[in-house]
Amino acid sequence: MKREKAYIIPPAERATPDLASGKYLVMWQGPQHPGITGNMSLKLVVEGDSVVDCETHVGYLHRGFEKLMESRLWMQNFPLVCRIAVPEPDFNEYCYAAALEELAGVEVPARSVWLRTMTLEMIRLASFLMWIGGQAGAFGHGTIAQWSVTMRDYVLDLFEELSGGRIYHMYIIPGGVRADVPKDFFKHLLDTLTIIEKNLDDIELVMFHNVVFKMRAEGLGYIPKEWVDTYGITGPNARATGIPRDLRKDLGYLAYPQLDFEPITCTKSDAFGRAELRLAEMYQSINLIRQMVDKMPSGAIREKLPNPLYWKIPAGETYVSAECTRGEYGFYVVSDGSDKPRRVVVRGPSYTHAVSVMERLVRGVNIADVAGLMVSLHTYPPEVER
């Protein structure tokens, strides 16, 4: 504990600058600011052009999901959960559905498991595509954003074809998936993947071989290996420090054990390294989806459930987590045997990255880099506030 205390500086123990000295400027970045991800705000104390201290302020998107779920039926909650993290609704759906199935002892058919895995990988790809646009845009490279967000739109078209929904899919339901894939879906999927792969090559050429992007991103927001455990960093931010920690491999949920992939790690854990790692993960997702299309089994897609209006789930508690684009996404569900959940806790990876790690990393950074640093941590405020 003594050894690791050095890496934990609680806000109270920080050297807080003397604001009365007139040497510093208190500046709010956000919520009304294009350089902020989502809707949160940073209270920056700047000296000259560099940040001295930072306080994150979240809660602008607080809807009280966890309270609302306690007053709705198990199945009524289902349209609610996917609204928690807007860019990646499917992880909420999967975690919630898996927790319910585990508590209720429902076995889902094999094909639905594979379809779930495919959906999760597709949304990972879509979210990463949106992220890389944000990362380039935070450094002022609008062209990349224009390309990649359009590529994301093609993935969303696939989702629309699959589930009828563009942003909120509600495809992974307890007991399986809502519907089987439509005709020619896999063909469209593979074609889209080819287009996206080609576009990713262009992006790599324009963005990652760009001297200006290197100058901006290299050395920005370096995360040492020791922070990973002390700050609970997960996902690409953790893998960028060189730790091969991927829940898809560790937990082996869904169909991932049957798929052939290795956790991608990177040695330089600054903004540039994280960006490279996420680009590699995009290629990995494309590869995984292709594998799944080949190995996709046939059969039923849904398990018969009792009448959802009277569905009582036996008392118990469980914690189901999955590897989303930002790290460990988890649902902690408690049932007291009634037809409504007793407590649902959503564990979003941004909870750590956007608050503690951000406050720790942003000190000493140039103001112009705050937006880039924030995006390079890949934070989504909605899952902090729920």
Binding site: Y7, G59, Y319, T352, V357
Partner: protein, 177 residues
């Protein structure tokens, strides 16, 4: 896992070890020893990753059940450590020195449940709410719908019906008188 259970029981009097899955177990300890248990699990037990910390309001037992979920990435095993605290006087030791993000969870619990963590940084500040004057809203006895109806103006014309009776009337009209 069993040797860990016995070790925890021997050292800290942990009880009710339960294996939920092969990679998820839960255990209950006393609230007074929660920080020692977590510190030991972190430094000696290999459970170095704090997934989340939250609370469940067991109003029937007049207790808050705190849950700290730790993960041992070497063993690939997660452990949920529970402890019950008195609902009328909720106070727990702060663990903000064990994990760098713990103070955020504690701030959240302080605001949402009214659980106090003495010494935790910025624990008394507002976390997600602003100008909130009602009771801690995640407690079971706080009625969100009532508060919302009283506070926020509603657009006329919205009907809310009980799903069971509504679906009955839609699907089996003859069954409903």
């Amino acid at each position: 896992m069993n040797e860990l259970a016995t070790e925890l029981t021997r050292r800290y009097g942990a009880r009710d070890w339960r294996d939920q899955r092969k990679d998820l177990s839960s255990v209950v300890v006393d609230a007074l020893r929660i920080r020692d248990v977590l510190a030991w699990l972190k430094d000696s037990g290999g459970y170095r990753h704090l997934s989340f910390a939250s609370a469940v309001d067991n109003i029937e037992r007049n207790a808050f059940t705190l849950v700290y979920t730790l993960r041992n990435h070497d063993l690939g095993h997660s452990l949920m450590v529970h402890c019950d605290i008195d609902r009328s006087n909720p106070t727990v030791d702060s663990i903000h020195l064990l994990w760098g993000q713990a103070w955020t969870y504690q701030r959240e619990m302080k605001e949402w449940f009214g659980i106090d963590f003495p010494g935790s940084p910025r624990v008394d500040e507002e976390f997600v709410l602003e100008g909130w004057q009602g009771p801690p809203m995640m407690r079971r006895d706080f009625d969100s719908r009532k508060y919302s109806d009283e506070t926020y103006a509603e657009r006329p014309g919205r009907v809310t019906s009980d799903p069971a009776t509504h679906m009955k009337s839609k699907m089996y009209p003859e069954a409903v008188p």
